[in-house]
Symmetry: C2
Subunit: 537 residues, 2 copies
Amino acid sequence: MNQNNAIELYDTTLRDGTQGEKINLSVQDKLLIAEKLDEFGVDYIEGGWPSSNPKDEEFFRKALDLKLKNARVSAFGSTARKPGSIADDPNLTGLLRSQTPAITIFGKTWKAHSAVGLGLTDEENAELIFESVRHLKEEGREVLFDAEHFFDGYKDNPAFALKMLQAAEEAGAERLVLCDTNGGTLPHEIYDIITQISSSTSVPLGIHTHNDGDLAVANALSALRAGATHVQGTINGIGERCGNANLISIIPNVVLKMNGRFRHKLQLNQLTALSKFVYEILNLPPDNRAPFVGRSAFAHKGGIHVSAVLKESSLYEHIDPKSVGNRQRVLVSELSGQSNIRYKARELGIALPEDNAALFRTMVQRIKKLEHEGYQFDVAEASFELLLRHEMGEFQPFFEVLESKVHIESGKNREAVDQAVMKVEVNDEIELTAADGDGPVNALDKALRKALRRFYPEIRNMSLVDYKVRVLEEKKGTSAKVRVLIESSDKENTWSTVGVSTNIIDASLQALSDSINYHLFNCRTKPLETLREATPC
Amino acid sequence: MNQNNAIELYDTTLRDGTQGEKINLSVQDKLLIAEKLDEFGVDYIEGGWPSSNPKDEEFFRKALDLKLKNARVSAFGSTARKPGSIADDPNLTGLLRSQTPAITIFGKTWKAHSAVGLGLTDEENAELIFESVRHLKEEGREVLFDAEHFFDGYKDNPAFALKMLQAAEEAGAERLVLCDTNGGTLPHEIYDIITQISSSTSVPLGIHTHNDGDLAVANALSALRAGATHVQGTINGIGERCGNANLISIIPNVVLKMNGRFRHKLQLNQLTALSKFVYEILNLPPDNRAPFVGRSAFAHKGGIHVSAVLKESSLYEHIDPKSVGNRQRVLVSELSGQSNIRYKARELGIALPEDNAALFRTMVQRIKKLEHEGYQFDVAEASFELLLRHEMGEFQPFFEVLESKVHIESGKNREAVDQAVMKVEVNDEIELTAADGDGPVNALDKALRKALRRFYPEIRNMSLVDYKVRVLEEKKGTSAKVRVLIESSDKENTWSTVGVSTNIIDASLQALSDSINYHLFNCRTKPLETLREATPC
């Protein structure tokens, strides 16, 4: 890797990323992500393809008002379609209209694409590239040239591929970005090709890879080692087919392992937060197994290994999780030994009955049994804590649901009805309430809160922020068991609870009850100083 | 890559794979996967760690009865704990008791692990390795030595790491498997280290990598290029933390791109099926973005690009999807142009109104609107087909749900009740039915079928095989919109339908209705010759 030159970080989450299946971003979403990328220290933000859809045009209009500290916004599009009509080309016109300081245009560098796809001679293709780049340069923009299908093209016909790079260079392109558009090139091929061509141009080289061979990150690193100084990718590797090169993986590899330097100082310890933020905006569940930032990335399972990890983390973790804003976790799971449960309890600040082996064994058995039934405590730590404290006699539920009834009606031409009736016992008093809701679970939630409000006014301070249903044993069709995970919050803290049943309403009620109990337990029982983080009640 | 030597495929899905978060396999699951791996052409199947848990011991007992054609089963465990007590070591005894033809034992090759972790001198550690391997060899087993933390160890202290390899070699180990246990090594480091050490041993070298740097596949390929002839990994890359090297990606890269040869002829066109099979057994949703085998791996989105792909696939796909048992797809999505919808319709055998531009525009608008509301047609093609045919006047629903009521009761010390009442209109006749079920959705399903049975006896031949709920706008808590996806089957075919509502019962009812309508439409309306695959009715 060229240690003298800082590496430029070019993000295309907002453009190439949105080509991915199930990926949709509104203009507002895109603006939020752009601000976050700038804050993190990205150099270029590719915002969209202005002439491809009105949403992208609106983004560029609104992006003019963003106050960016580090990044330049770039618009993406193709070279002109026909030589000789540059000034009227709708694509180039759209790019200029976007008013971005930088413009990235792609041109064909694989002969077959130019000859078969567009029916152009080599000269015509070179001219298109030259004229398009020059036109944009004349309008005072910074121009980055994306050499589409470069590696496949170079392997097929190196002279053709180089001729096209040269055309872009002669027209004044500021960067030549070599694209592995189909994503099938191998890391050593990338290294060899860049090494071969780097003497033939004085323009800084960039790399843009896709993950079709499961090698996008390796390919990008390979290019940087061979002398490229500009790397393109997306947050979380989203993108068409198997995705783009994942900047979330490239960045820490470059900084922590390859001794590389980016142009701006990056907020590396915000890497996990950045990844989560983008998943959140995309309304996609995060990938727990994601390198560096995944929930499981520093999660240890298995009794023997865990005790060793606790002794000396650096022998078992390739980097310090804190450096990327992640953290070490020990999994409470079926495979776990008792040491995992002890570790988890310590993490949660629960003193286990060290002197009562029989009680501890009973607890382990009970946890294993529940996990076997489908309860998943590693993602529902509040339920896990209540369970442990209950077994140890520290916690008793604040209420008991004696009866619950849900009535749902819908039909042609009439108002839908979702009504819950709940009979709850608190301190020997019985409260019967009913509530209408927006869906049965919402009705249930409202009825339960209504019943409890008189006894526990502090439940007003908490609310549900997330609700997830997973069908277990999916092959059983509609009678399958479901697991409901609920995330609740009181503004300061969030906590997760779980319920399992063949009945979604029943599973929801379990998770709801746990959530409320957890909040009340924290407010009423725990002395404030034992709380890891203060919980306002 | 050494072209003379065939590469050995060593699968550790059943052992290292099960260390992954949320991964659980029963003994029966493991046996099913082992048979499938053997069929595919894997050389070694690592079945578990016999002394770590009783489940693994049971697996090895039952694995003795498997009729394997290609693979040898291997048991995994550590070297003895203390020098001088080899014969009584519980771990080695457990390994021998498993009666597997091959045994894989791991030993420390990073000095810090041996010195700090176990408190051993260099000589003691070498002796442990030597004695353990020799003991297993004397019992007539094939012994593979896993050099734990080899790359970190070699970078730290090459002499120590090599001394340990030598101890294993001298004791007769048949393979020296170099492990990147913490998963943090870079591909060029792997290449350089293996190139450096390969002359110092005559034992075939293996590679075992983890994905903590997002480089597990690249690292494995790097080792094979440097001369390793044995590669370890798991199906779908499952495994602890970020997972193991993904054999599903390594295999096609080696065969299709590196001109490599495996010891057994692999059923490469079964690769996608193998990946799905393992996901199915794990009860995990497949990764749509997975390279080579993912549902999105050859999925094209975006109007312009799609028309080019249809012209000449090989210019846009790094390999032929059929070679790995996958297929090309065109996505119907918000981003799609009209050409995507046309392509999809053609794929489904639907003749669009080519001569009626206004009608086609209305259809496109309607699809966009529904997608905006949360309907997802790329995973619910049956609903999409009904929608198109309905817009074109070819399909009318076979029934209308006039009213639906669901009543759910549960409570302390009493039987839970899930009851649905349904009023359905068919050909001007009204049918009122009620059914009890196992959960509200199941009750609804039963009541609907009961109402329709008299009119459409052929619904007996179909059943629901999968039911998935996704909460949209998760931040809205329990009143959020949900999307229900239902997969149905009539033994010959399966089809997917979708429903969206803030009410899970209502969303389920939409998807159920679509599913039944689709079945009836195929049975009653489509002439058999127009069906892509015959649907028995």
